[in-house]
């Protein structure tokens, strides 16, 4: 009995251990875009979202509902990782698997936005995930159940289609409802500078800079300029023309950044 439990818990706790990317990274970069998988010198991998925050994969199973491998993970300096606030946890990719918790026999499908919907009959589970539907049910640890919201129970097959919800959620950002025309830069201290220092976005994107440092900073460029930003204050600018836009911290002019607009 106890063995079964340890292995279950081990699956939760192993996340860091199994998150070693396939290739080793000789160099780190401070240039990355929203939607990138990032890591520091540690093993944990995060999803960098349009709101400038990093999202945690609570366990390996969650990661593999979204990605097959670690090939696309970008390593960044630890100091930069520190400057990016945690936004929350990634939930299962909708449609990929069904889930349950250990202490409740109810089985749920995952719907867009991290909603869990109770599958009320075995027939429905078979319709969605075939005769072997039981192999498609993952146990979500109790402590991560709170990351999900509960939606309406499913009583007819027409209410849900695994294929359709997967088509609608090709990225974690889409599942979380982030606007693709948003991007965010964190302002760290003078050592870390702008995080990411260089970012490529689509034309029409609004970039928001937020000061995550206790000291005052600003964002200054030829075409746009912020007020002085104290801790947790933000400034936004919309890039409506393509090109490469250099900017710097008006109070610490050695700190520079670039927004590439395509």
């Amino acid at each position: 009995m106890f063995k079964r439990i340890t292995s279950l818990i081990a699956a939760i706790a192993m996340l860091a251990g199994t998150f070693m990317p396939v290739s080793t990274f000789a160099a780190t970069t401070s240039s990355f875009n929203p939607g990138t998988l990032i890591k520091g010198s540690g093993q944990a991998v995060y999803y960098f979202a349009e709101n400038g925050k990093r999202y945690v994969f609570p366990n390996e199973k969650t990661y593999f509902t979204w990605y097959n491998d670690f090939n696309k993970v970008v390593q960044i300096p630890d100091t930069l990782l520190y400057a990016i606030p945690i936004g929350g946890n990634v939930t299962y990719r909708p449609g990929k698997k069904m889930v349950k918790i250990t202490t409740d026999p109810k089985v749920y499908v995952v719907d867009e936005g991290g909603y869990l919907r109770h599958v009320t009959t075995e027939q429905l589970a078979q319709t969605f995930y075939n005769i072997n539907w039981k192999n498609q049910v993952d146990d979500v640890p109790d402590a991560f159940f709170t990351n999900y919201k509960t939606g309406n129970a499913i009583t007819t097959a027409a209410e849900y289609s695994p294929a359709n919800v997967m088509t609608n959620t090709t990225t974690i950002s889409k599942d979380k409802g982030f606007d693709e025309l948003m991007a965010a830069v964190s302002i760290g201290n003078t050592m870390t500078g702008f995080v990411p220092s260089s970012m490529t976005v689509k034309k029409g994107t609004t970039v928001t800079w937020t000061n995550q440092d206790s000291a005052t900073h600003s964002v200054k460029s030829d075409g746009f300029q912020s007020e002085n930003l104290s801790y947790n204050q933000s400034y936004s600018h919309t890039f409506n023309s393509t090109g490469s836009f250099q900017y710097y911290d008006g109070l610490h002019t050695s700190v520079v950044g670039t927004i590439n607009v395509q």
């Binding site: 439990i5 867009e112 109790d142 402590a143 509960t150």
Partner: protein, 473 residues
């Protein structure tokens, strides 16, 4: 790998519990529960079970697993999960592995960054770094990040711990985000047409000097761009790209108002706006205020005897009227008569009967201050009427003052005693004659309290206090 053994510990501890099987129907809120599995849950007053994500979280609330009730697996399954328990406020400092910032835990799972090491030392002692726990990244989302702590007056670990009397009480203080609200309720997944906004205050009504935490949550399908919090029209905090925004507001020591208004404005990613207003009344006359004091001449009397009640307002109050109540009935109202109101009456009834007395002072702006409640008891032997007087109401540094205690009682007085603020006896006089003690001189200014106690020949006694102010000359 380290975290495995930590979680293992919780399980082990839970496993060796003696079984104390209870029916779910008899569970009371606040109970720790488990079924045949190892995990222990907190049975919340919302009827849900809350998860302890780590053993360290459990240990901030409970010292051991001795009070866990076992329910059947079916009963446990019937209790929905209600989210995770967060650290007990004030007990520990926390950080995450991938960010060197150290946070104090405030009420409702709000993390507040400690701005400097010297501040950490002032708040948590020189060994503060032994009190820092690493919270796994995946549980960081159970917390909300609040404003930074920049001075010691901004945060008191002991006070904040004392307020968190239970996990339920702490959850109540929490800014109930939409995600938590939706938990296990049958909400539809349709896109809301307007942002859903909540606005709460951890205190209402408000008192002078209160530290009020105003919290707003907003949810909307395309996301929230900005939440702005206002107190009486003054912008206090702006939070970007988050669904939760908090701010602490320190009530001033004096305020000429009856009510306050907290408000929030929310802007969504697609530029829809919404707002909400929360009216916060100033403290009503339900709780004792330090501005109002009450004195009962004799707290124990014979049936048919009379005693006086004096209600006094502090000098900071612009008194409009003072009302004295006996057992919730108005017995005396004083209008525009200065700072005091007095009332004396005969109390009848059987021996042992008690009367609850208090006063309410209303100021010119309509605000009410209530005194503490005092009791007048009818007894076979009444307590003596005690008077404590000083020779001068205030003195200069270096001067002395006489404190005189005199008692009066039908049965005769056995003794009069003068004591200091700690009730240490300064002088005892036998018999009915007044007892005078020459106090001072003091080298420091301040207000000094003396107690006078009189005891009658049958052993009943009563005590009164007097204060002397020492000023600089």
């Amino acid at each position: 790998m380290k975290s495995i053994s930590v979680i293992g510990l919780i399980l082990m501890a839970a496993l060796i519990l003696s079984s104390n099987v209870a029916n779910a129907a008899t569970l009371s809120a606040g109970t720790l529960i488990k079924a045949s599995g190892p995990a222990v849950y907190y049975y919340s007053d919302t009827g849900k079970r809350l998860v302890f994500p780590t053993e360290k979280t459990f240990k901030t609330w409970f010292s051991d697993f001795s009070n866990v009730t076992t329910v059947t697996d079916a009963e446990l399954a019937a209790i929905p999960l209600g989210g995770n328990v967060t650290y007990k406020p004030g007990v520990k400092l926390v950080k995450i592995t991938t960010d060197p910032s150290v946070y104090a835990v405030a009420a409702g799972g709000v993390l507040r960054h400690i701005a400097s090491e010297s501040l950490a030392v002032s708040l948590y002692g020189p060994d503060w770094n032994t009190k820092v726990d690493d919270v796994p990244d995946a549980f960081f989302t159970n917390y909300n990040v609040g404003s930074e702590i920049t001075s010691t007056s901004d945060f008191s670990p002991s006070a904040i711990t004392a307020l968190a009397t239970s996990i339920d009480a702490d959850k109540l203080a929490r800014t109930t985000g939409q995600t938590t609200d939706n938990q296990n309720t049958n909400t539809t997944t349709t896109t809301p047409t307007a942002p859903i906004v909540t606005l709460t205050s951890n205190k209402s009504p408000l008192h002078l000097n209160d530290l009020v935490t105003i919290s707003a949550t907003a949810s909307y399908a395309t996301g929230i761009r900005q939440i702005s919090l206002f107190f009486d029209g003054q912008l206090l905090n702006t939070c970007n790209y988050t669904t939760i925004c908090n701010v602490d507001y320190h009530m001033p020591a004096y305020y000429q108002k009856d009510s306050f208004e907290a408000s929030v404005t929310v802007q969504t990613i697609d530029l829809k706006t919404a707002s909400k207003v929360l009216d916060l009344p100033f403290a009503s006359a339900t709780q004792a205020a330090s501005e109002a004091s009450i004195k009962v001449d004799r707290s124990t009397i014979n049936p048919g005897q009379s005693t006086g009640i004096t209600v006094t307002a502090a000098e900071t109050v612009n008194v409009k009227n003072i009302t004295i109540y006996v057992d919730t009935s108005t017995v005396k109202g004083c209008d525009y008569l200065g700072r005091t109101c007095q009332w004396s009456q005969v109390y009848n009834g059987n021996i042992g009967k008690t009367f609850n007395v208090y006063g309410i002072i209303t100021d010119t702006s309509g605000r009410a201050y209530r005194t503490t409640d005092e009791t007048i008891t009818l007894a076979a032997n009444d307590s003596p009427a005690v008077t404590v007087l000083t020779s001068k109401p205030w003195i200069y540094v270096g001067e002395t003052v006489d404190v005189t205690v005199s008692g009066a009682d039908d049965n005769g007085i056995q003794s009069n005693i003068v004591s200091d603020a700690q009730k240490a006896v300064l002088k005892t006089c036998s018999g009915a004659s007044p007892c005078t003690y020459s106090a001072g001189p003091w080298s420091q200014t301040g207000t000094y309290t003396f107690y006078g106690k009189a005891t009658d020949l049958l052993g009943a006694s009563d005590e009164r206090s007097v204060t002397v102010e020492v000023r600089n000359n």
